[in-house]
């Protein structure tokens, strides 16, 4: 009986220690973060099972559009080269498509706009918890990828952007993101060049940004310059598939 009481007392103390900040230390233990990040795979598989590859994100009406769309992330890349492009109305901006493709592309904004477009009024969900509704027009990414003829080993699409995330004085670290082919070729995944009927303003990612409507905001790279098809992203930057992923956010951002 006394042994059991001792055990219970110890168990109780253990639970209390866990509650009183022990969890913060646990958050730095490798085995804990290892288990926690395994859950991301479980979540992705379960969500894919339910949503499949084609279930569409809800679309809204013009009346639902936010009067002022909240901009987040980089609001202006403000590099000499970007500023020159902006001054020129992005006439010389090019998006290159390369990597695991048979036909590398280099598209101007005019060429991108000449391709079939899709317009959608969708809800932007930030990882912080807020939502904002806007109308986006752009080229379905699936069309761009198809034009580049991906090779069989292409599994991910990596977007590299013009916004430098590094602190002044440190080596440049451009924002990047990645999607797998399921999300990249989803009908609502577009390279958007227009918000609410206007050319995309700088604070929202001019001249072109990604919209991946079944994912959280940080997946939707702005100021896109390069699109690369790759078999894996382990060798790129921090190896986690995106700027925020390298800071600890999950690669799968469907939740």
């Amino acid at each position: 009986m006394t042994d059991r009481r001792k055990f219970l007392a110890r168990a109780g103390a253990g639970v209390a220690a866990l509650a009183l900040g022990g969890c913060t230390d646990l958050s730095q233990k490798k085995w804990v973060t290892g288990i926690l990040s395994e859950v991301e795979i479980l979540t992705r598989r379960a969500q894919r099972l339910f949503a499949g590859s084609h279930a569409l994100a809800p679309e809204y009406t013009k009346a639902d559009i936010a009067p002022v769309f909240r901009a987040n992330g980089t609001l202006d890349p403000d590099t000499p080269s970007y500023n020159a492009h902006a001054a020129n109305g992005f006439r010389d901006w090019r998006i290159t498509v390369g990597g695991a493709v048979r036909r590398p592309l280099s598209l101007s904004m005019a060429e991108l706009r000449a391709m079939p477009s899709r317009t959608q009024i969708t809800r932007h969900d930030c990882v912080e918890g807020w939502s904002c509704i806007g109308q986006w027009t752009g080229t379905p990414l699936a069309l761009v990828l198809a034009a580049a003829h991906p090779t069989e080993n292409a599994r991910y699409v990596v977007f590299t952007c013009a916004d430098n995330m590094a602190q002044p004085g440190y080596p440049a670290q451009y924002y990047y993101e990645s999607l797998d082919l399921v999300e990249a070729t989803h009908p609502q995944t577009i390279l958007a060049y227009s918000l609410n009927g206007q050319a995309l303003p700088i604070r929202y990612g001019a001249p072109v940004r990604l919209r991946a409507e079944r994912q959280l905001g940080y997946k939707m790279a702005k100021y896109i310059q390069r699109i690369e098809l790759v078999p894996g992203f382990g060798a790129i930057a921090g190896g986690k598939g995106g700027y925020w992923e390298d800071q600890g956010y999950t690669w799968y951002a469907g939740i």
């Binding site: 219970l8 913060t24 926690l36 479980l42 979540t43 279930a55 807020w130 939502s131 469907g254």
Partner: protein
């Protein structure tokens, strides 16, 4: 006084009594697993909330009109925390909106001693939250399945018409801190049934479904979720209310466990054995 203390401690009665198996093993296991899940989910949920400490109603965020917000502003007297609920504003410095982190006044929704992790760390808060959400759902479904198939749900938890009729009487008895004794203590009273039934079969599914409604991929798979809860931001607000309903339940639950016999209750949820007094002449 001594009697009250003795009852609160819940020591095994000195007089004639029997020990009976009050809680099945499944109930005990799922109870403690659930307690751990709720602890982690609540604390990591507050960490996630702190990333944008405001709630809205509807399909998207009307930033100018949150229904609840926690903000901080610099004043001559230091960092001032304000909590706004609808038209009301409260000074909640030190608790909500602004509180000390390692001795420094910091702008944050909930204070660091109740969030998981303590410092602002959204990415890690989300990982804890989703991992334990899986555990919470698996545990919940396992308990549901067992409780419904074994008759525990219908027999012991579902309030009957008599339970509802007895409610005013039971509330009176509870307010006088008089709890069922002897044979009557073998089953849950009306208030217990109502509370447990509500938490297990209403609050549980509601917190999970509103949580899933916040996922953009789940909204693609099940757009009906948005329709049911009136949009993603409404779902987020309901999720928050559910979390604090669980918290409220937890507080009342602990108070009742203590008042109605701490050790007896605790033992019955660990070993299953609960002591009731028996009286030969009654």
């Amino acid at each position: 006084m001594k009697a009250l203390l003795r009852r609160a401690l819940g020591l095994t009665p000195e007089g004639p009594h029997v020990l009976f198996r009050r809680h099945a093993l499944v109930v005990r296991l799922s109870h403690w697993l659930n307690a751990l899940c709720l602890l982690v989910l609540f604390m990591s949920g507050l960490q996630i909330f702190n990333a944008h400490p405001a709630l809205y109603w509807g399909i998207s965020s009307d930033f100018a009109h949150p229904i609840l917000s926690m903000t901080a502003e610099d004043t001559d007297a230091g960092l001032k925390g304000t909590t706004q609920i609808g038209p009301w504003h409260f000074d909640t410095t030190g608790w909500l909106g602004a509180s000390d982190v390692e001795g420094y006044p910091t702008a944050r929704g909930f204070p660091d001693w109740i969030t998981l992790p303590g410092p602002q760390w959204l990415a890690m808060g989300r990982q804890w939250h989703f991992a334990f959400a899986w555990l919470f759902v698996i545990n919940g479904i396992a308990f549901w399945t067992w409780a419904i198939r074994r008759g525990h749900a219908g027999k012991d938890l579902l309030p009957t018409r008599q339970d509802i009729a007895r409610l005013p009487h039971e509330i009176g008895e509870h307010l006088r801190l008089r709890f069922p004794k002897g044979e009557a203590a073998r089953r849950y009273n009306s208030l217990q049934k109502l509370a447990y039934f509500f938490v297990i079969f209403i609050l549980g599914p509601l917190v999970v479904l509103t949580g899933l409604t916040m996922s953009p991929t789940m909204d693609s798979a099940f757009p009906a979720l948005l329709w049911i809860f009136g949009g993603r931001q409404s779902a987020r607000t309901i999720h928050f209310i559910c979390a604090f309903s669980f918290f409220g339940f937890f507080i009342v639950h602990i108070v009742m466990v203590v008042l109605s016999g701490t050790w007896n209750n605790l033992r019955s949820m660990i070993t299953g054995k609960y002591a009731i007094e028996v009286r030969e002449h009654d």
